[in-house]
């Protein structure tokens, strides 16, 4: 019964070898030939036993694991099949990746039982592969061929047909991360970490949860410095993250946000922010980034915007002191107004505990309809529908030299940017059918 319906994972129901090669590999032939002679050894060394278990991945021994990895790379390794090694009296263990199904279990026990307590290994020169094949106690069942096949087909399931280069690339990535062999720019921006891990983690949130719709992405220049100026809302700076992902996905550029010093004071958050490309919102850093040709994002409302009550949603607060405008004027980069609709509704801020906030050193301590009422569940953002619109760039290189030192001009440009963002917000709100779709 057990042998009949075994369809290994990943072969898509095709009987026989998952690898698709006609001829059994050298390793498989060795196994098949040696099979009958092999004496089931009940006593093995512990490393071997551990390695044979279905959860062998967690086995701490490094040597067997290296063997297995080496085996994975061999393309013509045998793949577990019903007829792959017919002489082997073995049963795949239930619950393993290559395991056939629930009906394999009962047979394994009795088949192994009588041999338990047998002689020690008679032929050590058989090598680890053959040793592992030997039937014995129920602990040690899965032969290496099954492991290989399971891993191979699993890799194919996950990565598609061209799985080998992708797995190799992933391993190389892991090696680079572990050995510290990656580049970090002078602001502490870790491109690899950001693109491969941070943005990849946030992207599903943008695509599936908030269903971010981006408009006017072609207003972002393909290269050279530019300053994206956006409204700020949502109690938690989620809008910054979403704008980063949107900019990355539509233009391929990394948005480099400017963050408050509170971000860098906080453990973990500060570390992650630096590696994600955030730097301190000060003129020196902004000008350094802009003149370095980066795409810089700034949220001039700051805490006033992000921590405003829900009743004031989509009403822009004061735009700082216009420092971002003077940075853009000094470096001559365009200012791109950005309007985000939807972020206001993710955590509707209905209350604030200023005294407690002051005590823990935060600018505000939010109360939303669900937080802290529902505890951690209240931290789940409401799935509002987001619209992000990038407006037409406002050029700053047409102003005369020294324009950045003219406060009136700076105020005027600041107002112009603020008005643009506010008007776009209103028109986006008009177009929005509902908060949630």
């Amino acid at each position: 019964m057990a042998d009949a319906e075994v369809i290994p994972l990943g072969t898509r129901g095709k009987p026989g070898r998952g690898s698709g090669s006609k001829r059994p590999s050298a390793a498989a032939r060795t196994l098949a030939g040696r099979g009958p002679r092999s004496v089931p050894g009940a006593r093995r060394d512990p490393v071997e036993q551990r390695d044979g278990r279905p959860d062998g991945d967690s086995a701490p021994g490094t040597a067997p694991r290296r063997k297995r990895r080496a085996a994975t790379r061999t393309p013509e390794e045998p793949v577990a099949g019903t007829d792959g090694a017919p002489n082997l009296e073995r049963e795949p263990r239930p619950g393993s990746q290559a395991g056939p199904g629930p009906d394999a279990g009962p047979d394994a026990g009795p088949g192994a039982g009588p041999d338990a307590g047998g002689a020690p290994d008679p032929e050590p020169e058989l090598g680890p592969t053959a040793e592992r094949i030997r039937e014995g106690d129920p602990e040690g069942g899965i032969p290496v061929g099954d492991w290989v096949s399971a891993l191979t087909s699993a890799a194919r399931e996950v990565f598609g047909e061209r799985w080998e280069p992708r797995v190799a690339e992933l391993l190389a990535l892991a090696r680079r991360r572990v050995t510290g062999d990656y580049h970090v720019d002078e602001f502490g921006f870790d491109v690899e970490l950001t693109e491969r891990f941070l943005l990849a983690a946030v992207r599903p949130l943008a695509d599936k949860w908030f269903r971010v719709e981006v408009r006017g992405a072609d207003n972002i220049p393909a290269d050279g410095g530019a300053l994206v100026v956006s409204n700020h809302s949502g109690t938690v700076p989620m809008d910054g993250l979403m704008t980063m992902v949107s900019v990355k996905d539509t233009t391929g550029r990394n948005l480099r946000p400017l963050g408050a010093d509170l971000v860098f004071r906080m453990p973990f958050l500060g570390e992650l922010a630096r590696k994600g490309g955030v730097t301190l919102a000060c003129n020196e850093d902004a000008e350094r980034m802009l003149s370095g040709g980066e795409l810089v994002g700034v949220w001039p409302e700051g805490y006033k915007g992000i921590g405003k009550p829900y009743s004031q949603r989509y009403k822009l607060q004061r735009f700082g002191r216009g420092g971002f405008v003077s940075a853009a004027l000094r470096t001559g980069v365009p200012i791109i107004p950005c309007s985000v609709v939807g972020a206001e509704e993710i955590y509707p801020l209905v209350g604030n505990i200023p005294a407690l906030a002051r005590l823990v050193g935060l600018p505000y301590l939010p109360i939303t309809p669900f937080f802290p009422l529902l505890g951690p569940l209240g931290l789940v953002p409401l799935p509002s529908k987001w619209l992000i619109e990038f407006g037409e760039p406002i050029r700053t290189d047409t102003f005369a030299e020294g324009a950045a030192d003219d406060p009136m001009l700076v105020f005027n440009v600041t107002d112009q940017v603020r008005e643009t963002v506010q008007q776009t917000l209103y028109s986006l709100l008009m177009q929005r059918r509902s908060v949630f779709y």
Partner: protein, 338 residues
């Protein structure tokens, strides 16, 4: 005109190497080395004078030897062991500099002063800009330790430059120096068997190779460019990245406990973790080196990464761990027997 150079702190590693380098330079007629301790290595053609710069006798040396270039290297963090305490280090750094500058001000022959300062003047805090240029100052003033010494020393040097406008004063704010031979608080830190880090923080490190520091000091002594310059290799390494490159084990501890860990390691007889490092290891620091390249005209040979790689090769992955373990075990067993 061939120069007569006075080098203070000549018994240190950098000092003795710089003194020999200058002595071999054809543009230099004579090099006088001054320190409170006798040099550990052969100084070659350098004439050594055992003198304390905290003592007015230094004025006689400068006048008597017709010194025209003073290279002041003895502003240093407390040297490990040897009974060197914070008070004596501070006295040596600050009072020594005051005496030296007073002597220089009197000596009409002095034309150049090169001060080896440190990037520690910029401090380390969460409000720091990504890169410090020379005209910025610390966002959070260092209130104690080596960083405060350096701050005060630089203040006195600025005062001297005001009073003697005819002297070209070069202040070199060197980033943390690493290399196979040099021993600084930071290299001691990386040599710890298990490296403690601040939990939840990752500092940006910018490093200078010891050979680049030597070359820069050499060039500054001979060129006499007036001004203050950051001195550092190109690029930045994250602390976590650096430790991974070394292949060391880390133990993250809360930020406030970092200096306490330093006390523990010191008492355990292993290398010490300087308490002053804790701020730096939490927030790190970046230096803008534009002026170093354009005005001072100095280009370091090593980047931060290659300097650290050179240091890492000398330390070797894990090798030091077993060595210091053995040493610890030897000390503890010795203590039991004794």
């Amino acid at each position: 005109m061939r120069r007569v150079v006075l080098v203070t702190g000549v018994s240190g590693d950098i000092g003795s190497r710089l003194a020999r380098l200058l002595a071999d330079d054809p543009a230099v007629q004579r090099v006088v080395g001054v320190d409170v301790l006798p040099p550990r290595s052969d100084l070659g053609r350098v004439s050594f004078m055992r003198a304390d710069i905290r003592n007015p006798v230094i004025a006689k040396v400068i006048a008597g030897q017709d010194v025209d270039t003073v290279v002041h290297l003895s502003v240093e963090p407390e040297r490990g062991g040897g009974g060197s305490t914070r008070t004596s280090a501070k006295e040596h750094n600050v009072i020594g500099t005051m005496q030296l500058l007073a002597a220089c001000q009197r000596a009409a022959g002095v034309q150049r002063l090169v001060v080896r300062s440190s990037a520690a003047v910029y401090g380390s805090s969460s409000r720091d800009p990504a890169m410090f240029t020379e005209d910025m100052s610390a966002k959070r003033q260092p209130r104690s330790g080596y960083a405060k010494d350096v701050l005060e020393v630089e203040g006195y040097v600025r005062g001297f430059a005001r009073r003697r406008p005819d002297v070209a004063v070069t202040t070199l704010r060197a980033a943390d120096v690493v290399g196979p031979r040099v021993s600084t608080p930071l290299t001691d830190y990386f040599r710890l068997p298990v490296v403690p880090t601040a939990l939840g923080y990752d500092a940006r490190l910018q490093l200078l190779h010891e050979s680049d520091l030597l070359a820069a000091l050499h060039q500054a002594a001979l060129d006499g460019v007036h001004g203050t310059f950051n001195l550092s290799g190109e690029g930045v390494l994250m602390l976590s990245q650096a430790i991974r490159r070394l292949g060391r084990a880390t133990v993250p501890v809360p930020r406030f406990a970092l200096s306490a860990v330093g006390t523990v390691t010191r008492q355990a007889g292993v290398r010490r973790l300087h308490a002053e490092l804790s701020g730096y290891l939490t927030f790190g620091r970046g230096l803008d080196t534009g002026r170093m390249r354009s005005v001072l005209g100095f280009t370091p040979e090593h980047t931060t990464a290659s300097a650290f790689a050179d240091f890492g090769q000398a330390v070797g992955p894990g090798r030091d761990r077993s060595r210091s373990m053995r040493r610890t075990m030897a000390t503890s067993s010795g203590a039991e027997h004794g």
